[in-house]
């Protein structure tokens, strides 16, 4: 399969394109909220434990 075909396929199978979702906006909103809640739960699991120290120690030299 060429790269191009992959792009096309991704486009046509995107969840937003499913016809069932067109008429039920509230369901879509609720689903997005549920997805986000799940994601925020996950952040609690993976976020660096001491956020303050992590942010303080993240110091870079300028580049380019």
């Amino acid at each position: 399969m060429s790269e191009q075909e992959r792009i096309q396929r991704n486009r046509s199978t995107r969840p937003g394109a499913a016809p069932a979702e067109v008429s039920v906006d509230t369901t879509k909103g609720e689903r997005l909220k549920a997805d986000l809640d799940e994601l925020l739960d996950e952040i609690d699991d993976v976020l660096e434990e001491n956020a303050e120290e992590f942010v303080r120690n993240y110091v870079q030299k300028g580049g380019e």
Binding site: Q4, I7, L32, A51, N57, Y58, G62, E64
Partner: protein
Amino acid sequence: MALEKVLGIETEYGVVGGPDRDPVTASSLVVSAYARRGERVDWDFEAESPDLDARGLARRGSLAPVVETQLANAVLRNGARLYVDHAHPEYSSPECRTPLEATLFDLAGEEILRRAQRVANEGLDGAGAITVYKNNSDGKGNSYGTHENYLVARDVPFADLVRTMVPHFVSRQVILGAGKVGAETEAGQRLDPAFQISQRAEFFEEVVGLETTLRRPIVNTRDEPHGDAERFRRLHVIIGDANRSATATFVKLGATSLLLALLEDEGPAAFPAPPSAPVHAVRLIAADPTLRAVVELEDGRRVTGWDLQDALYASAARYVSRGGGAAVADEGEVAAVMGEWREMLDGVRDDPDGVADRVDWVAKRRLVEGYRERYGLAATDARLRAIDLQYHDLRPERSLADRVGLRPLVDRAAVERAVAEPPESTRAYFRGRCVAQFPAEVVAANWDSVVFDLGEGPLRRVPMSDPRRGTASLTRDLFERCPTAVDLLRALDG
């Protein structure tokens, strides 16, 4: 006819940790860890001239970028360069021929850094572990770059490049920005944003200039074509964010290539006027995630960044409908660029959640805002800044970008191949094959030549002054016919 768009991205990665917490040490360990895997061929600096200015000015001596020759530096089998630039590990992708190919080799760079980090950490105890981030600032006023490069016809007047690219470089952040919590420069802090759509925007201080580390310009004039300077210019674009969304990288490369091809074919008339105050416009647009900030253009119109990007999309769409775009990619790929560009533009205005799978700043802002609301945090809470940084962490167990549902543009197998093999479409094929096939004889390489040491006689330099040659279709047979470097050089002489 527009010149075929050879293109690529160079990325300086953020790096923390290491045995002495010094970023130069950490960067060197990361690069040499990967080079130790048998990848290493030295970089050749002979043809480097980063202080030539596209406006035709003389060298400006001390203002020129410094090239560091003593640090770890390697040419990879995929044709890329991996090295330490200042205090960052940098991956410069090989030259590619289409936006999709260049996106693939940018993703290969992420994977190479991920592997290099893992190998480097195997040699360190846990306390000194090194972490690599694909971002552009540390939140404390230090920025490092993600630069794009595009092959442009030398006969395009540089003033036209500036006039037509400024509107694009000022406005493309509305769909391509990687997002940032707060502001970190004086100019940015005056606008007092809780969240900005771009990492880099507030660091730009000039419209046009040669420097990349101080007084950064929206249009960089570095004139180092890495090829035949009579025919080619390499437009070195320093005003872009490192994207974790592959779709954003694809649209960044595709939209910019199409606009450059349009300029080459039809001149500057098809482009909107630039903002009267471009530096202020970049910052203002970045600091307003509602996308309502208005800037004045040189023709007196007052528009938003979104409007400007929409006008550029319309110019590109008319060009494509007239049959333009062949210099960028085949019809299907050009259509994919245009489709994504349109959807991302409409999405950021009408339905941001609908493009949170493609637009980095939208995806990041959802996390930051959601987390802030859940715990009732102040906008300045360190946890929000930690989320910002960790979005760009490359480690699968920590990366937040890996968790927000960004759409993959290419599959894993293609990325794995691009880690090990060069693109077939440019001279990077010749470079990569030489490194893979003759590691003992290739003693150095750079963008436009490969240097061989055959053991006797002088070193032999094979020049590659046209980035569109040295492709698989032109040289694959040669590599198959020539089992040794001596055979290869003899065949090239013949």
